[in-house]
């Protein structure tokens, strides 16, 4: 084992600890704001793992898109639905958690036995390494051209759909309210809340 392999193994261990610990924090912490910041930690550690796998372009894309866009979007959503509510404890809620934990442990055992017993045929060719972005661009514009264009259409559809779903409905005739109230409130149509309890009893 030379020095480079030792450095790789040590950094892989550190990144594994960061990923597992931060993702457990995302799932288990009661405060959702801490969970969102730990999710950013998971994304950055995943970018480090991508660098260990000789993929610099995807690591940069991971940092840009996940940490820069998705995590900030989740933080904004948490701020917009900022309501301190204590969830009512469920009857027999521990059964659900125990059953889910057992299912997840069983799935992990199944996957790990599959991983460890399969004989992988490793490729012996040259690693793309620094030329990975050139190879990815060639794939994008030759044999993956149609999915590449469809991805752009999908992003446009998601943009329009998110704006339409999250838009507030303004009422123009209510904007001539007194100035003191208008400074403090957003002009939004008052809508009655659905009765949650009656409809949930209907479904029970």
């Amino acid at each position: 084992m030379n020095l480079a392999q030792g450095v790789q193994i040590v950094s892989f261990g550190l990144l594994t600890l960061m990923v597992i610990g931060a993702s457990l924090g995302v799932v288990l912490l009661p405060n959702v704001v801490y969970a969102a910041f730990l999710l950013g930690g998971v994304f950055i550690s995943m970018a480090g793992l991508y660098l260990l796998l000789n993929a610099d372009f995807v690591a940069a894309a991971q940092v840009l898109i996940y940490v820069g866009a998705v995590n900030v979007l989740i933080l904004f959503a948490i701020m917009l639905v900022n309501k301190r509510e204590d969830f009512l404890p469920l009857k027999r809620g521990w059964i659900r958690k125990a059953a889910t934990g057992m299912v997840c442990a069983g799935l992990f055992a199944l996957l790990s036995t599959m991983v460890l017993t399969t004989s992988w045929n490793f490729s012996t060719g040259a690693i793309a390494g620094n030329d990975s972005i050139i190879v990815i661009a060639k794939h994008f514009f030759t044999d993956f051209l149609l999915p590449f264009e469809l991805a752009s259409v999908l992003l446009l559809m998601a943009l329009v759909g998110a704006i339409i779903l999250a838009r507030r409905e303004f009422i123009p005739e209510e904007t001539d309210m007194p100035a003191r109230d208008a400074a403090l409130t957003l002009p939004e149509r008052p809508r009655e809340l659905m009765s949650v309890s009656s409809s949930s009893e209907f479904n029970r």
């Binding site: 994304f43 796998l53 959503a77 009512l88 060719g125 990815i136 993956f144 479904n203």
Partner: protein, 101 residues
């Protein structure tokens, strides 16, 4: 470095994501668990592309597509959560019974 280490890490991350997806009450945390699972899939694709297909790295191309779809999914999902929050005034997953049956 071995392929199996990365695959085991991805399996652990996927199982943690499933646990959070099923047991969490806050709707935003459900979306965060989905992001964890998508990241586990990405790690699988990247590991396979590095160790089994190191010349024509098609796994990285798929990872870029998955990142794109995850960004679109996060935007639309959070918009849906905002719309539900405006109508129902809660983000508790146990009190949503629309879109269920």
């Amino acid at each position: 470095m071995q392929l199996q280490y990365f695959l085991l890490l991805a399996a652990a991350l996927f199982c943690i994501g499933i646990y959070g997806l099923v047991t969490s009450r806050n709707a935003v945390r459900v979306l965060m668990s989905i992001e964890l699972m998508l990241n586990a899939v990405n790690l699988n694709l990247m590991a396979f592309s590095n160790f089994l297909d190191s010349e024509a790295i098609k796994g990285q191309v798929f990872t870029v597509f998955v990142i794109t779809v995850a960004a679109a999914e996060a935007a639309v999902g959070l918009a849906i959560i905002l719309a539900i929050y405006r109508n129902r005034d809660t983000v508790d997953m146990e009190q949503f019974n629309l879109l269920k049956w």
